[in-house]
Assembly symmetry: C2
């Protein structure tokens, strides 16, 4: 439910945001409305429901020609699963709506569903409803995912405090590298052959079959270890900005600390860009970006090892006037505002 900037950004988005600001209002039982990875409602004194929704348009978010329908479905489900993971909630139920043009093959719809449900089955998420309709132009897919938490707790974007450590799960930039590899192989033959077949396979797989960090989010939430969290759908640069805005703080990111896979490093070297650039601007890694007090951070590092989670400190929360800066080799520079182009 992150407000993605589809390419090219269109003015209507600003309008919608202003409309939402105008029409959205506080309501009984509403814990979190617009402005986080998911909306949160209190359904009883013991339970919160987390709701996230995405509307994906053919030619904007996906392309049935260059991606397999199965991968389109898989990634669409994973994007929503990741939103729920970033709330520290357990994903439970799924609603799928499809608007289908006459030209789409049955087998493609079938494969799309298979991809959606393959991702959902990994997290025991059940399909409970939806809607289908004809479409005069293009395939449209709307997903609503419902997660739950017990005991009134969640990971919000607000809550980061000055002095907190900034952490991420997994490695960054893999998905962007995978996407670039997929594109270069379809558009201009096999150009990037300067690194191993297995690296290539790993990066493409990270793009076509990302992993939502549900167990990690749930653990951080249950143990109250994180002060704020978001999932990395738009890229570190953009998503860290959301945490800073909602928490009214600044941030300092140490580029040398960014966790980058050997495959991604090899790819960056092959195409002659800095690996940290891929890590900063690459979207759809679906890793967790979160903040924690230095003390909780020690607990996280200790427990993560025994749990087999990869968690890396990458920086520190600063006062708001500091802005969002990145440092490397003693140099400091404002983090560029980059918007990741999704799918296409």
């Amino acid at each position: 439910m992150a407000r993605r900037q589809a390419t090219p950004p269109i003015q209507e988005f600003a309008l919608i945001r202003s409309l939402e600001g105008r029409f959205a209002r506080h309501a009984p039982g509403l814990v979190q409305g617009i402005g986080d990875d998911a909306a949160v409602i209190e359904t009883s004194a013991q339970a919160w429901c987390h709701l996230t929704t995405d509307l994906l348009a053919e030619g904007i978010h996906f392309d049935m020609k260059s991606a397999t329908p199965e991968s389109v479905g898989y990634r669409a489900a994973m994007a929503n699963l990741s939103d729920i993971a970033a709330m520290g909630a357990v994903p439970r139920y799924l609603l799928i709506s499809l608007a289908i043009p006459k030209t789409v093959k049955r087998s493609h719809i079938y494969a799309l569903y298979r991809g959606l449900m393959k991702a959902c089955r990994l997290y025991d998420v059940a399909l409970i409803g939806g809607d289908t309709s004809a479409s005069k132009a293009g395939l449209f897919l709307s997903i609503t995912l419902i997660g739950t938490t017990r005991g009134r707790r969640a990971l919000f974007r607000h809550g980061a405090k000055v002095g907190d450590q900034i952490c991420v799960s997994g490695t960054l930039g893999d998905s962007l590298a995978g996407l670039k590899l997929l594109r270069s192989s379809t558009t201009s033959g096999r150009r990037n052959t300067a690194f191993s077949r297995s690296d290539r396979k790993f990066l493409i797989r990270r793009h076509t079959h990302p992993t939502a960090r549900v167990a990690e989010g749930r653990w951080l939430n249950d143990r109250r270890l994180a002060s704020a969290a978001i999932d990395l759908s738009d890229g570190l640069s953009g998503d860290l900005r959301h945490i800073c805005e909602e928490s009214r703080v600044g941030a300092e990111v140490e580029l040398e600390r960014l966790p980058i896979s050997p495959a991604c490093r090899a790819y960056a070297s092959a195409i002659g860009v800095s690996p940290s650039r891929l890590a900063l601007t690459g979207g759809e890694d679906y890793e967790l970006l979160f903040t924690a007090s230095p003390r909780d951070c020690e607990t996280i590092e200790r427990e993560a090892r025994t749990r087999g989670y990869r968690m890396t400190r990458i920086g520190t929360i600063r006062p708001q006037r500091f802005g969002i800066q990145m440092t490397s080799d003693g140099l400091t520079q404002p983090m560029p505002v980059t918007s990741y182009e999704h799918f296409l």
Copy 2:
């Protein structure tokens, strides 16, 4: 969330239904999956959440040229509010997603939102989230509405028993008459002038600004007065069939008993069709169709009067082998299978 047959029916719908049947499965906390007006999940021992979703496509479900964007929004919200009403739940929260082509005017999007929120405000429903995206072709609108009930109760489509009375709220056929009036005035001048201006206004209003029977549904559910319920979105003929299928029963409808407004009667007379035909096939009345034991039916009729609800007995639940029959003047005939054409 009723599976509407958009015009023309396309084969893919059958495929999707079979896919849903394949992929949908029972899950912990799932009270009702696909196959009712809304999905129902148990969020705690005291609370149920009801979820319904619709995906509406320009040129299929609405036409920005012949309907005002405000009315498109209003009716889209009301269709979902009516689904929640038919579960006997209280509508609470709304998620709106829009895919917007570049050609759509800002003022139209604004009016669409205004219509959506106007309907929602009547029932104290809060906008809590959504998604926006560009669209390469046509405007697409996805709505997810969440309702709640306390104390593990809801009105399902299953539950009707042989001997139960069949009842409806309000009057039937008004919306179809209003739609036909709107069409005839735009396509071929003002043909149908054989009845009063106020009747005309009433019928068009019933089409452009229908009313979801939320208070009535909630009352039937809280007092456990109905054995089964559905909202009339596809027309009496189609929706009664859903109750009969889910409850595994037959039904006998007495055509003379159908509640038809004086305006609808006047319109039927003006165009030379039987009023009961409009009542049977007219969709989008958003009245409640429900069943109740003869004893509960007496309570309903008594209490409805003091509450100012119009409730009418229109027939009786019969064994499944009886099928769905209609009677008039001593004649009996199977009820035709008609599918209402939505919007366009």
